[in-house]
Symmetry: C2
Amino acid sequence: MKTEIKNVELENIVEEINQLQTDTVLIIADHHVWSLYSKDILLEKIENKKVLFWKAADGEKVKNINDFQSAVEFFLDKGIHRNAHLIVIGGGATSDFGGLVAATILRGIKWSIVPTTLLSMVDASIGGKVAINSKSGKNLIGAFHLPTNVWICPKFIETLTPVEKNSGMGEILKYCFLDYTIYDLVIRKTDMGQIIDACAKYKEKLTEEDLKETGVRRLLNLGHSFGHAVEFIYNIPHGEAVMWGMSLLFKLFGTEKNLNDITALKKALEMPGENSPWFNKEFPIEKIMLYLSKDKKISALSSIDLVMIKDIGNADIETKTFDEIQAVLEANKDELRKFTL
Amino acid sequence: MKTEIKNVELENIVEEINQLQTDTVLIIADHHVWSLYSKDILLEKIENKKVLFWKAADGEKVKNINDFQSAVEFFLDKGIHRNAHLIVIGGGATSDFGGLVAATILRGIKWSIVPTTLLSMVDASIGGKVAINSKSGKNLIGAFHLPTNVWICPKFIETLTPVEKNSGMGEILKYCFLDYTIYDLVIRKTDMGQIIDACAKYKEKLTEEDLKETGVRRLLNLGHSFGHAVEFIYNIPHGEAVMWGMSLLFKLFGTEKNLNDITALKKALEMPGENSPWFNKEFPIEKIMLYLSKDKKISALSSIDLVMIKDIGNADIETKTFDEIQAVLEANKDELRKFTL
C-alpha cells in the first residue's frame, strides 16, 4: 500500500475524483475551508457517481467522538458499500478525523486527502496516522490508515493566516535537518510548490518503510518531544512548537552548527524572528519533565528516545534517561531564560 | 502477525496473563460470564502488572458507540501506554467490541481473547474482524485487528444454553465441508476440544493468508449469504442460521450428496432435528432477495459470490446474478415450503 502524492490545480480536483474507481464518493470538508473554496471545487461536475457530503466543524473542534458518530451514521444511513471512496478537504485536524471515519466505516474503505494548510500538505496528510481526541488527551483514539491519494494545491496557502503559514514552515525546517535535498531546496529559496512536494514525498518514503513507527519513521519526531511539551505549555501552533523544540534540543544536546543552521533556514523560509515563548521568564523545567514522562510514545518508564542531528541529513536516535535530561535542564536553567533565535 | 491459539485450563489463564510482556493489563469481561467465572479467574493472582478492569454489558448489548466511548475513556483516564495489553473475556460480541477498543486506543495495542462460547471459540475469536453496531446495521463500524493469543477453555461450554451450544455446532458443521480433517474428526465423534482446536486453527490459517477477505478467506462465508438473511428474517442464532443457509444453498445449487452430508454431520454433532424455520409456511423469497442485495460484502450491484462445495474439502466460489437466484427460488417455491433436514 502506497500513497500517491500529486500536485493538482484547484480547479482540477473534480477531474481527479472523476477518475477514482468507485461509484460512490463520500466527502468530508472543513466548514471554514468550504465557505472559501466551494466555488472552486464544483461537486456538481462529478460524473456517474453518487456523492454524499458531510460538513465538518472547523479544525480541531471536529475531533471528538460525537462528531465521529454523526459522520459515520450519516454515511451508513445513505447505504454505501466497501468500494466507496472518502475524500477529505481540510487541514490536519479534518484529515485526522476523516481518516478515522475511513478506517472504521465498513471496517475500512479507501480515502484521499486534499490538504488545505501548509502543515497538512507537508506533514499531517502523509503517513496514515488518523485520530480523534479523548478527554485524556489529543489523538488518543485512532488508527493507521494510509490514504490512496494526496492532492496538493499550493493555492490554498494564499488564504492561510501568517500564524498558520508559519506553523507549516516549522515542519519544513525540520525536514531540512533530515534530508539534504530538502535543505538545499530551502536554502536556495526554490519555488514553494517544489519544497512541499519534496517534504511530502520524503515523509511518504519513511512511512512506507515503517508504517507503525518502530524504525526509521521515528526520525520524523525530531524536535517533537520538547516540541509537544512547549506546544502544550504555551498553547502555540504545532509547527512553531516543533521549531522551538528543535532549538531546545540542539541547545541542550546538539552543536553550535545545529543552531546556526536553524537561524539560516528560518531566514530562508522567511519565518518571523520572534522571541522564544519562555524568553525572560523562568524556564518551566518541571512542566517540561512532567509532559515528557506522559508522552504516549514512551515505552519505558525512565527514559525517552531523542532524534539527534550530527549534520544535515545525518540523524540518529539516542536514548536519554529522564534524570539525565532533568540534570541538563537544571544546569542550563539561567541560560535558557535568555535563549532565543 | 499471527495469532497463537492454545487450549488452556480455566484456572491457568492467570498464568498466561502473567507471561505477557507488559506491565499493564486491561480487561474487558462480559457481565454474565464474569458472574459465573470470576471465582475461577483470580485477577488478584496477576503479578507485577497494573490491572484495569472494565465490565461489559451482556453479549450484543455492549456493541454500541456509547459503551465504546466509556471503555476507551475509562482506560485512557487511568494512564496507559502503547505496550499495554487488552484481554477480552466473553463471547463473540464481547470480543468484537473489545477488539475495536484494542484497535483504536492509542492507535492500536495488543490484545488477547478468552472466548467463552462455542461459536466464539471456533469462529468469532479468530481472524481479527472487530466491530460495533451502527443504527444502520450490525458490525458496520470496525476494523481488522488480529489478537495475539486466543486461549480456549472448553470448560466454558458446560454453562452454555442448548441454543448457544447448537449455534456453535452450526459453524463447526460449516468447517466440515471446507476441510476433510475436520470432517473426519466430527464423523468419528472425536473429543470436542480437539474439534474446536482444528476449527480455530483452520480459520487462523485462512485469515493469516488473506486478512482483508479478498481471497481464500471468502470460503469461510459458506452458507452465510442465505444464512444472514435467514438469521435476520427469523431472528435465530447465527450458527443455526448458517446451517440453514448451507442447507438452502445445497438444495438450490448443490447436490443430493451435500444434503446427505449435512444430515450425517448434524447427527454426529448431536444437533437437534428441528424443522426449518419456514417449514409449512410460505417461503419468503422477496425478503431473502432484499436482504441478499443489501449484504455489505457485495461489490457489484447485480450479482453475489456464493461458496459452493464439490465434495468435502473441495470448495470454490461461483458468481450468481440476483436474477438467476430469484428464478431458482421461484422455481422451487412449493418444494421449499416442505424442505427441512
